[in-house]
């Protein structure tokens, strides 16, 4: 069984209890999550690992308030998420959570700068402030010279970096990243991971999904999923290498 790793005295930010996510496919029921319990505290750096189809993305989507669990509870900073209305959920997604999708999910008809501005737009930041902060975020991921390119004019790695810039631009308290380096060469992958490391040192809570041991090694805690349940959950020897 999974052993609990969270023993620090920091505030729990994320608490999931008995989380289930079922998909009905005709007569069959797919149990993408089958009773996940997990507590994540402030400023933790967690790597979620596991084979393909084990439910990593499903878990991340629920934590990111993009999806609803079929059963179980999700407490975010002591608030039961399932009781939140549309407006409160939108605020959570906007202010608290930065999400890097496995498939980027950029707006195809907007250029990099405008894509990165979107969270600021819904956060009520004025036009000039948006422009400045979006530029900064893009420069941070090394895309200062690609701001007016549309996603289809960017490479896969560049798109992913736009997605990272967009996730970071509103300074969320939790950064969720589903295979953020999956499409990057090792060099840019490392740059992104260095960026995550810096953010973590500055107090950022980070949860990322990865298949790469190189990437996982930087996280202070590993959570292994298999067939929708947590099989291992432990603190690593060298957090924040």
């Amino acid at each position: 069984m999974a052993e609990s790793a969270a023993t620090s005295d920091a505030q729990p930010v994320i608490q999931v209890k008995g989380l289930h996510k079922h998909y009905r496919m005709g007569a069959e029921t797919i149990r993408a999550l089958n009773g996940v319990d997990c507590t994540i505290r402030e400023n933790e750096y967690v790597a979620v690992m596991g084979p393909s189809g084990s439910g990593k993305s499903t878990l991340m989507n629920i934590i990111g308030c993009l999806d609803q669990p079929s059963a179980g509870e999700y407490w975010l900073s002591g608030e039961n998420v399932s009781t939140l209305g549309d407006g409160a959920l939108a605020r959570v997604r906007n202010r608290r959570i930065g999400f890097v999708f496995q498939t980027f999910n950029l707006l195809p008809r907007a250029n990099a700068l405008h894509n990165v501005e979107v969270p600021l737009l819904y956060g009520g930041i004025g036009r000039r402030g948006r422009r400045i902060r979006a530029r900064e975020a893009l420069e941070r991921v090394g895309l200062g010279d690609r701001m007016d390119h549309r996603p289809n004019e960017l490479s896969g790695g560049q798109r992913q970096r736009v997605a990272v810039a967009r996730a970071l631009v509103n300074e969320p308290s939790i950064l969720l990243a589903d295979e953020p380096t999956g499409n990057l060469d090792s060099r840019t992958g490392q740059d992104i991971m260095d960026l995550f490391g810096t953010l973590h040192q500055a107090g950022q809570t980070i949860i990322l999904v990865t298949h790469e041991p190189e990437v996982a090694r930087r996280a202070g805690r590993h959570v292994h999923l298999m067939d929708g349940v947590v099989t291992e959950d432990y603190l690593t020897q060298e957090p924040d290498a």
Binding site: L66, D67, D86, R93, N105, L121, Y122, N170
Partner: protein, 403 residues
């Protein structure tokens, strides 16, 4: 998010999807413009006929020389309407207020060195009144001119044009009809095409002068009769029939050798057919409207996948349902209003061009504009907003997975 930001996002989205936006707008433009033009044409035609009916009055019957039949065989050489018949109707038909004879035929017209060939009509001074023709310059000839068989002529409106003369300057000049000199005493106003006699390309002279000096015979091409107020046209027809049958000595059981035309019947037929014409145009317009609407629907539904993903992205990044809805409402309203305005401009322009360039009768009806705009813009709004509303209800991840 402020309304200004929402409008900005919506406008940016319209510009980012220029092809889709303009195709949607095109659907609206075509629908609105088609309805406006078609209905304007149909209504215009109906109004033109109604106006003629009002102008001409519906109290007038026409009598035409026909053929006489003896035991079912037409006999060609029989005089069927003469000046005597005209006089008999004036004398003996109490239900007729006015009788207007027309003794006419094509004749050579000479004015200066110009030679023309026109229909010359011998008639009586009541012609303009009964046929609703105004005298533009000079005067109509009088009963006195008729009694003295004066050689005076009143011209239809086209004659001065053909002579390249101003109508006013022709008064008092001399024109030769069959080498007989006539003094021009009047010119008629233009009447245009209509049911009944078209006086524009004809010359009018006193009946007596025509009979004795120009045609040398008394056979009428036809005559018109105005029925006394309060008496039905049918009663008037019976009156004419009674007098003419007596004059022509037609025995009971034999057919008339003349025809009485009730112009109102023609008018009503014309009215009915312009009504059909108007309905036809309206249904073409309706089809255009429908096709435009289906076009709009198609474009909107085809773009639902892309737009659902967009909604998923926006919601994942912090947009509320209301933010999404407002963006799509503003987008659809902008496209709808712009399309509607352009459609009205195009339809109005086409209607205007038809009047100015082709000289058709059009009448732009406000009802048609309202109907077309409401329908097209309504379709645009509905299919612009409804799928977006549905997508905005989804969890972001479902919207993002949409395909």
């Amino acid at each position: 998010m402020s309304i200004v930001e929402t409008v900005r996002v919506a406008l940016a989205s319209i510009l980012a999807n220029l092809l889709r936006s303009s195709l949607t707008m095109l659907g609206i433009i075509i629908g609105v413009a088609a309805v406006i033009t078609m209905v304007a044409l149909g209504t215009g035609a109906q109004r033109a006929v109604d106006a003629q009916i009002a102008q001409l009055g519906t109290r007038v019957l026409s009598v035409m020389a026909g053929q006489s039949f003896r035991r079912g065989v037409a006999s060609a050489n029989r005089v069927s309407l003469t000046v005597d018949d005209y006089e008999a109707l004036v004398r003996d038909a109490p239900l007729l207020t006015e009788v207007v004879p027309e003794l006419s035929g094509g004749r050579q017209i000479k004015f200066g060195n110009k030679n023309l060939f026109h229909d010359v009509v011998g008639t009586t001074p009541n012609f303009p009144g009964v046929h609703a023709v105004d005298v533009r310059a000079g005067t109509m000839f009088t009963a006195g001119d008729l009694a003295t068989r004066r050689r005076v002529v009143v011209l239809g409106s086209e004659i001065p044009q053909n002579l390249e003369m101003a109508p006013e300057s022709l008064i008092g000049r001399t024109v030769a009809i069959n080498r007989v000199p006539f003094e021009i005493i009047g010119v008629f106003e233009e009447v245009g095409e209509r049911f009944g006699p078209e006086p524009d390309d004809r010359l009018f002279i006193p009946l007596t002068t025509a009979e004795l000096r120009v045609f040398g015979q008394d056979r009428l091409r036809g005559l018109s009769a105005q029925v006394v107020d309060g008496v039905s046209l049918e009663m008037g027809m019976v009156d004419i029939e009674r007098v003419l049958r007596r004059e022509h000595k037609i025995r009971p059981g034999e057919d008339n050798d003349f025809m009485i035309l009730n112009r109102r019947q023609f008018m009503e037929m014309a009215q009915a057919s312009t009504e059909i014409f108007a309905y036809l145009l309206a249904s073409i317009a309706g089809v255009s409207l429908l096709v435009g609407g289906i076009g709009i629907m198609n474009i909107m539904l085809v773009s639902v996948t892309e737009r659902t993903r967009e909604i998923g992205v926006r919601k994942a990044l912090g947009a509320t349902r209301f933010n999404i809805l407002m963006q799509f409402v503003v987008e659809a309203l902008t496209i709808g209003v712009l399309g509607g305005v352009l459609g009205i401009a195009l339809g109005g322009g086409a209607a205007w061009a038809l009047t100015e360039l082709v000289n058709w009768n059009v009448f732009i009806s406000v009802d048609a504009i309202l109907l077309a705009v409401l329908f097209s813009v309504g379709v645009g709004l509905f299919f612009g907003i409804w799928p977006a509303r549905r997508a905005a209800q989804l969890d972001p991840i479902e919207a993002l997975r949409h395909d």
